[in-house]
Symmetry: C2
Subunit: 174 residues, 2 copies
DNA sequence: GGCAGGTTGTTGACAGCGCAACGAGTGTCG
DNA sequence: CGACACTCGTTGCGCTGTCAACAACCTGCC
C-alpha cells in the first residue's frame, strides 16, 4: 500500500504546503490554463477545438489519411461515442468523409478531405506557435526532457496498476 | 509574429517525431489518463468528482472554512456559473452551506459543513494515495522538481502574454 | 443625492463527453 | 451450418461545463 510514505499525514486535511503536492498542483494548473489558452486561440483564429484539431492531425498522419473510428478514438483520447460525434461535426463541415471499411462491414473509417487538410495546415501554424510560445519557450531543454520522462513514467505506472474493479476496498465507507 | 522561432516548419503538417513535441504529447497523455484514473477512484470509493473534492479542499483551507463564490471559482479553475452549479450540488448533499456575505449584499459565500469536512477527510486518503501512487512514485525527485519548475514557468508565461484581445502586442515577440 | 458603469451570483440555452443499450457483423467451435 | 460470445459504430440519456443575459448591488464622479 501507498500509505507509509514518510509523509506525516495529519488527522486533518492535507496541508497545501506539502512540497511534493506543490508539483502536483502546479502540474494541474499549468495544464488547465495552457489547454484553455491553446483552445481559445485555435477557436478564435480557425474555428476549431483542440479535439477537432487533434483528430484532423491524427488522420493526416495515418496511411492514406484514413483511420478506423475506434483507432481514432483511442488516439484522440475519446470514447467511441465521443468520436462518432466529433466525426459527425467534422463531416458536417466537410473536413472529413465517412466511408465503409472494405474488410469489415461493421467498421467505418474517417478520411481527411483536402479541405480538411488545408484547414489543418492553416490551424497547425497557430497551434504550433502556441505550443512553442507557451510550452516550449518557458521551459529549459533539461526540464522539458524531465517532463517527458516523468510523463512517460506516469503513463507506464497507470498501465500497470489496474483500476479499482476489486470491490473489497469499498465497504469501509460506513 | 511568432513564426521565426528557429523551428524549421515544413509546408506540410507537423511531423509526429519532433523531439520537443514528444514532451508535449506525453504531457497531454499523462494528464488525461491520470485525471481519469484519480476521478474514477474518487468516484467509486467516495462518490465525489475531482472538482467537488477540490472545492471541498479549498473551503477546508480557507479561514473560517468559507469562501466567496468568485474566489472559490478561481481556485477550482471553474467559471462563475460552473461554481454556482457545483455548490448547488454540494449543498444538496449537505456538504456545504450557502450564506449571504455581510460586507457585500451581492455576494454569496459557501461554507464547509462538518459533514463536508468528514467526507473530505475520508476522500483525501483515497486521493492522496492515488497521487502518491500514480504521480509521485513513478517520478524521480529530480524530475518532479523539474516538472514543478516547468509548470510554474508555463503558468508564468501564460500570465504575461495576454490572449489575443490585442493583436498589437504580439509583434514584439520576435 | 443621483446617475453611469462595473461587479456578483444566478439562470436559460446549449455544447461536449461518457455510459448503457442497441442492431449489425465477425469469428470460433461444435 | 448453427449457436454463441464478442466487437464495431451509433444513439438516447444524463451530467457537467461554458456563454450570454439578467437583476441586484457597489463604486466613483458630478
Amino acid at each position: 500500500m501507498a500509505t507509509e510514505l514518510g509523509v506525516a499525514r495529519p488527522a486533518t486535511v492535507p496541508a497545501p504546503d506539502d512540497a511534493r503536492l506543490g508539483a502536483w498542483r502546479a502540474f494541474l494548473r499549468a495544464h488547465a490554463r495552457l489547454l484553455r489558452r491553446l483552445d481559445e486561440e485555435l477557436q478564435a483564429e480557425h474555428g476549431l477545438s483542440l479535439a477537432e484539431y487533434d483528430a484532423l492531425l491524427q488522420l493526416a498522419h495515418a496511411p492514406e489519411r484514413r483511420l478506423r473510428m475506434s483507432v481514432l478514438a483511442e488516439r484522440v483520447l475519446l470514447s467511441r461515442s465521443g468520436i462518432t460525434r466529433l466525426v459527425d461535426r467534422l463531416e458536417g463541415s466537410g473536413m472529413v468523409a465517412r466511408s465503409a471499411c472494405v474488410t469489415d462491414a461493421r467498421g467505418a473509417e474517417a478520411s481527411l478531405t483536402t479541405a480538411g487538410l488545408d484547414r489543418l495546415r492553416a490551424a497547425s501554424r497557430t497551434h504550433l506557435d502556441g505550443v512553442e510560445r507557451y510550452f516550449i519557450a518557458p521551459v529549459s531543454d533539461d526540464d522539458r526532457a524531465a517532463v517527458e520522462r516523468a510523463a512517460n513514467g506516469i503513463i507506464d505506472g497507470l498501465g500497470r496498476g489496474a483500476p479499482a474493479l476489486d470491490a473489497s476496498c469499498l465497504p469501509e465507507g460506513g
